[in-house]
Amino acid sequence: MKKNTEEQNQQRLDLILDTAMDLFLQRDIDDVSVMDICQACNITKPTFYKYIDSKERILIHFFNGAVDEMEDLWENLEEPQDHLGRILVMVTNTMKRAEGSKTQLFERYLALCLREHRITERYTSKFVPLIQDEIRQAQKDGQILNLGDPVLVYESLRNLGLGISMRWITSDNAFKLVESYIRIACSFLNVNPEYHSELLARSFGL
């Protein structure tokens, strides 16, 4: 048998992921079987399992996709001096993805991470030191008045995001996740009342 090239493999994996996510968004994830996904992609079950070892694992791929997105986001961020805006755009990326999909899917994803004690890529990506740098700059330029250790300020923003996301899941989508997060994060960062962030206004309507 001819061996698939890396590119073909990647294409097939992408097809499986995209198709599965479409199905998960249309129906309850519990009502979508691996067989359903295979039929929709026109592949066999053994082929499916060559690429992915479970239905839930698809969610890991989907939410980790937020990391790839961050690359583009970072490249295209305007306002290089708007450190506050840059920080908040970057740290809300996964939450935005969660809010744009379905509470149930984000719930399953987080439950899987908790069960497996998995630190996903977004927590170890190369953007972490970049965001910490933005925090340092925002402190220096007087955009934020929380002058704590930037590493720990970043950590608290990240963990606040995790906490609020979990509350959001538990409340079954009873409040606006990103909007609430931004409000609380601004209060924690102690944003200088005289500073106006163009990116915040543009990205979140605030």
Partner: protein
């Protein structure tokens, strides 16, 4: 044994079994045998293993009878805030990261008996204490005290959540305490 004592006994026994064997490995039947009760009795007290875990946490949170609103006992109003949050975080850490993770997972499904919403009394109490802490001058936190209390709890649950994800690999209490002070603009 009163009904309440029996419930606490079941919770405590189940908790010890979970710790010993892992949450998934323990069956309801095993818990019943260890407590010398029948299955129907078990279900009179708890709807599932997860509910047991959560109720036990609620019980532990309510246990300190002297309360948190005593600045003489704790040293200052701000120390009341710190002691209350440290108690809440210690209680979760005592679960261990495996069981604490189970607690979160169970919680996702149980909106009405949730880790995030059940502490209404505690949230109100924390808000009142924060107000006093600001008035005594230890912190310059903003003045929507209830909102602040809620976000400090979210922050705490986020810290413990990340601690679970990382298999308990850092000193969650020490970090949280630092960030708690930063977030409230502690002046000490």
């Amino acid at each position: 044994m009163t009904k309440k004592d029996l419930l606490v006994t079941i919770q405590k026994t189940a908790f010890d079994l979970f710790n010993e064997k892992g949450f998934d490995a323990v069956t309801v039947m095993e818990i019943c045998r260890a407590c010398d009760i029948t299955k129907p009795t078990f279900y009179k007290f708890a709807s599932s293993k997860g509910a047991l875990l959560l109720n036990y946490y609620e019980y532990l949170l309510r246990t300190p009878k002297e309360g948190w609103n005593d600045p003489v006992l704790h040293g200052s109003w701000w120390k009341c805030v710190e002691d209350m949050m440290i108690y809440a975080i210690d209680t979760l850490i005592a679960y261990g990261y495996e069981l604490a993770a189970q607690l979160y997972i169970y919680n996702f499904h149980e909106g009405e008996t949730s880790l995030f919403t059940f502490q209404d009394e505690l949230i109100d109490e924390l808000a009142r204490i924060l107000k006093n802490a600001r008035e005594e001058g230890s912190v310059e936190c903003h003045e929507d005290y209830r909102q602040l209390a809620l976000s400090l709890i979210d922050l705490m649950l986020g810290y413990v959540g990340f601690w679970c994800l990382s298999s308990g690999s850092f000193d969650v209490k020490e970090r949280y305490l630092y960030v708690l002070r930063q977030s409230c603009k502690y002046r000490g």
